[in-house]
């Protein structure tokens, strides 16, 4: 429970970040969604042993964080909590793939370790990009952007409703859990029967709430259609943003900048 509670607090914090007013915040959400998608595709398109070519891609999250004034430590902390599944699967790479690919003096580094490191870098980049997208855009704007990019309206509305009521319902269930904890004298977890009735009650209350919300919607003339009230502002800054970043990603994808820089330096030293 504590973890989800914290997750909801984090969620609120991330949500508040989107209220910022930087150049990046002001861009149309569609531009940011598209650039993030191109970024993700470029990062995952490398083969599994590519590591150094991924490093230049950190330029995107770092530049956006700086320009948008996001708290870097908060984002870093969120990224550091890498998806456990990635770690669990990735850690097997060094086990199964022991071909030595890189010899650094006496130390032989196997393909497995390189690909594991590559997985970690990919994870940090892709997950980081998703966080940053929300942090500079806001969930609502992301949904609206996706809707304008062709996502069905029913699903967009679904996302908005879900997001709105996460806050209400997690608070409600948090209160119920706390009330239970206070009377459970230190016993952890719930017996299945009391779990079922507590969750069941929560579900029934949720259902009633949905009925009341529906009434409130009908009371204000809802007929099944959601009307867009916002005008779009896809102009020169958005096009520039998309062009510059996409060009950079494609350049980085086909030119290993790390290797270029490295060989320049080693040649200089020699």
């Amino acid at each position: 429970m504590a973890s989800i509670h914290n997750a909801v607090l984090d969620l609120k914090k991330l949500d508040l970040l989107a209220n910022g007013n930087s150049t990046i915040h002001r861009l149309d959400a569609r531009a940011k969604v598209l650039v993030t998608l191109v970024f993700t595709l470029c990062v995952v398109s490398y083969n599994r042993y590519e590591l150094t070519a991924l490093f230049p891609f950190f330029i995107f999250p770092i530049v956006i964080i700086s320009l948008a004034g996001l708290p870097p430590l908060f984002i870093l902390k969120k990224i550091a909590l890498l998806c456990p599944f990635v770690l669990a699967v990735g850690i097997f790479n060094p086990v199964f793939d022991r071909t030595i690919l890189l010899q650094l003096g006496p130390l032989g580094i196997s393909g497995g370790w390189i690909s594991f490191a590559s997985i970690l870098a990919r994870s940090a980049l892709t997950v980081g990009a998703a966080f940053i997208l929300v942090g500079v855009t806001g969930f609502t704007a992301v949904c609206q952007a996706l809707e304008r990019l062709g996502m069905p309206q029913v699903f967009a509305v679904q996302l908005l409703f879900l997001y709105r009521y996460i806050f209400v319902l997690t608070e409600e269930s948090g209160r119920a859990s706390r009330a239970r904890e206070l009377r459970s004298c230190g016993k952890k977890g719930l017996e299945m029967s009391s779990f079922a009735s507590m969750t069941g009650h929560l579900l029934l209350r949720t259902w009633q709430r949905a009925e009341r919300i529906h009434m409130a919607m009908l009371a204000r003339g809802f007929t099944g259609e959601f009307h867009a009230s916002r005008t779009s502002c896809f102009g020169a800054p958005e096009i520039r943003f998309i062009l510059i970043w996409t060009a950079l990603f494609i350049f980085l994808r086909f030119q290993n900048v790390s290797l270029l820089l490295g060989s320049c330096i080693t040649r200089l030293i020699q």
Binding site: A216, A219, R220
Partner: protein, 254 residues
């Protein structure tokens, strides 16, 4: 303006599980009246309110708004005429931002975007929530949520304002703001509440519901002066009409 009359004739409502929530209720509310509906928990107040804009269908009896009977065909018009503020503002504020929420009704009524913009701005200023415009509802305080919920209804320019427990769970300052706001609404007002002091201050007429029936209907002073009636209906005098809790001095009658 006779079309703002609310007429309830022999209303009866039985829920699907057999509970009789309203036995037999009749009353007429004329234009510009401010009516408080009071009663104990389970007396049928909320059920009654939900009939006024057609959220619930009567089991028996009828409801007229203006001189139009409430029916499937007249529902859209009646919902525009009767603005309903729900007990829990979280049920009413379901859109991503305050602006979107207040604009929801006008957009459904088919207003042009510029009209909607103007209407929303006016109404938010009216309830003193102009600065909350771009905020999502979950970042608002309880009092702010109430005021915005009222704005969502006022933006449709209703002729009759119906509110269910408007002062429930908000701090004294927010309550005071809310009462002032409601006083400014010049059309018909119908309020249910356990906040009897607010009813005393705001309403020119009080209807007492008890076990699904009207037990009394009169001016606040008449009703709140009748201790026997109040006791029977599990109610009591508003605090401002009770004796001084410290020195026990009798209240000076108004």
């Amino acid at each position: 303006m006779s079309h703002h009359i609310v007429e309830v004739r022999n209303l009866r409502h039985v829920y699907s599980d057999g509970t009789v929530a309203i036995k037999d209720v009749s009353f007429i509310i004329t234009h510009g009246e401010s009516v408080g509906i009071i009663g104990a928990n389970g007396a049928g107040k909320s059920t009654l309110l939900q009939h006024l804009n057609g959220s619930l269908e009567p089991t028996g009896g009828s409801i007229h708004i203006g001189h139009t009977p409430l029916s499937k065909g007249t529902l859209p018009d009646i919902r525009r005429t009767v603005g309903m503020v729900f007990q829990d503002p979280d049920d009413q504020l379901f859109m991503p931002t305050v602006f979107d929420d207040v604009a929801f009704g006008p957009l459904n009524l088919g207003f042009t975007p510029s009209d909607v913009e103007q209407r929303v701005t006016e109404v938010l200023e009216l309830v003193g929530a102009g600065h909350l415009r771009d905020k999502p509802p979950y970042h608002l305080s309880g009092g702010e949520k109430r005021r915005v919920a009222i704005a969502t209804v006022l933006s449709m320019s209703p002729d009759i304002l119906v509110m269910d427990e408007p002062t429930n769970g908000i701090d004294p300052f927010a309550r005071r703001q809310l009462i002032k706001l409601m006083k400014d609404f010049k059309h018909t007002r119908i309020v249910t509440s356990h906040d009897l002091d607010m009813v005393l201050e705001l309403c020119g007429r009080v209807i007492v519901l008890h076990e699904g029936e009207v037990w009394a209907d009169g001016t606040p002073l008449e009703i709140f002066g009748n201790s026997e009636l109040l006791a029977q209906c599990r109610l009591e005098k508003p605090l401002s009409m009770q004796d001084c809790p410290i020195c026990g001095a009798k209240r000076i009658p108004a």
